[in-house]
Subunit: 280 residues, 2 copies
């Protein structure tokens, strides 16, 4: 496995490989890798990639001024070892100042899908995400890029960006990976004290219950159902940011809980923001 830190070197290397006929997959991450990230590498293999480029970069542009950019967990050595073991062929670990040069002034922004959900609470977040993903697409020029379903809104925004800016990249959404107890894997889980972690299981519980209810009862009015979920989360001391039911691609709110809708939840558990979702 190659380790590359300079953007220009990455671009040249990928261009050479692409010109030689290699199929290139990109797995963008912010590091502190867990089994969820490694499943993205597996998905890249399933896409038949000859080269799997994993980027490890805590992207300052997607953090708000009061968010956890400074204390976001980092462990580059361990990340490198995990990438190698999982079968990545390149790990890209750039310095902040090489990704955002002095007087950086160009951003990619999505103006519709990013307004609600996490975008409502985190203004500028998806602008940062789109910008860094556009940069990575241009550096790697991948045939395929793998994103995790846990960031469901992000995946839809990236798909829209690919469509609207004509990026020549296939986007693959890999399923959420959960711990044995059902908690969706997240680098931020490391912030959780034991009790908060236990309480956080209420997210997946609510999603599982909703899936079961949809299976059994087919169609349920969303508004009262939502109230129930909010109550169940609050009962576990979770500070609810949103509980929303939307269409898969447009992210438009839906009034009836039924098959093919997406249920998304965001809470704060002991101050840590956690998100989870499920396609019904």
């Amino acid at each position: 496995m190659k380790k590359i830190t300079e953007p220009e070197k990455l671009q040249k290397w990928c261009e050479t490989r692409r010109n030689a006929g290699a199929k290139i997959a990109l797995v963008p991450t912010m590091g502190y890798l867990h089994a969820g990230h490694l499943s993205l590498i597996e998905a890249a293999k399933k896409e038949g990639a000859d080269e799997i480029v994993v980027s490890v970069f805590v992207n300052p542009a997607q953090f708000g001024p009061k968010e956890d950019f400074g204390r976001y967990p980092r462990d580059p050595k361990n990340d490198e070892a995990k990438c190698k073991k999982a079968g990545a062929t390149v790990v890209f670990m750039p310095a902040d100042e090489d990704m955002y040069q002095k007087h950086h002034s160009v951003y990619v922004d999505e103006k519709e899908l990013g307004k609600g959900l996490c975008g409502g609470r985190r203004p500028g977040h998806f602008r940062g995400v789109c910008t860094v993903v556009a940069k990575l697409f241009n550096l790697v020029q991948p045939h395929v890029a793998i994103f995790g379903q846990k960031d469901y809104q992000q995946v839809q925004i990236i798909k829209r960006m690919v469509r609207d800016l004509n990026f020549n990249v296939k986007i693959v959404m890999a399923p959420i990976v959960r711990d044995d107890d059902g908690l969706a894997l997240s680098s931020r889980n490391t912030y959780l004290p034991a009790e908060a972690r236990q309480n956080a299981l209420a997210l997946n519980a609510a999603l599982e219950q909703a899936k079961a209810d949809v299976k059994a009862k087919k169609r349920l009015a969303w508004a009262p159902y939502r109230t129930q979920i909010v109550r169940s989360l609050r009962a576990k001391s979770l500070n609810v940011d949103y509980v929303e039911l939307v269409e898969q691609e447009s992210l438009k709110p839906v009034e009836v809980l039924e098959k093919d809708t997406v249920l998304l939840i965001a809470v704060y558990a002991a101050g840590t923001r956690l998100i989870d979702n499920a396609i019904m």
Copy 2:
């Protein structure tokens, strides 16, 4: 010469040619081609391009709601013939709805260089320019793209976009082409009544005078010099938008008229916006 109207077809064709080792040049235009555009095709040849893709697309996203999008001059048949004669290998003439799909919601925006000059008078203009150029870059994946110096601010913004979003494209700025009387060629010159056209010669006259003065006197205080230029333009019934002296790359205002600065002028002549500039 190939004519392509569908973005996906353009992307596939360019990808095939690129994979086959061809060097690809892009010449983005809004059509109604004149000798200025054709000089961009010549510049593409000088870059050693095997394929020269000329896009002809009046980009709605870069026009303000009260601007001349509807009446901007169009002559696709003539443009096609001119491209062929000039040596383009592909002309790309997409439909508006194929470039901006329903619910288009992703834009590329430059936040620093685009604030003043034309960006001050035309809010959203450079967002539209950056967005369409990013789209064209992704469709064509050119090795080199040619822009005219007449849109000097645009070229600097595109260069910044290439740097900040890591596009793998070389940007070439081709010199301004002028009519025999000195008027910078522009598709909008067609709007000008004879008298306004005559008056518009004051733009180039001011630029030439400034270049001569810099050559003779080396350093001149800008503020009083600017006042003289504004007077000379007003004397010709030109409605002055801006007369500015800036640094070449940063577009920061400069206090002293001297070598290597850029003098930029924008006026309205009988209601038609005209721009011109010169590097001192």
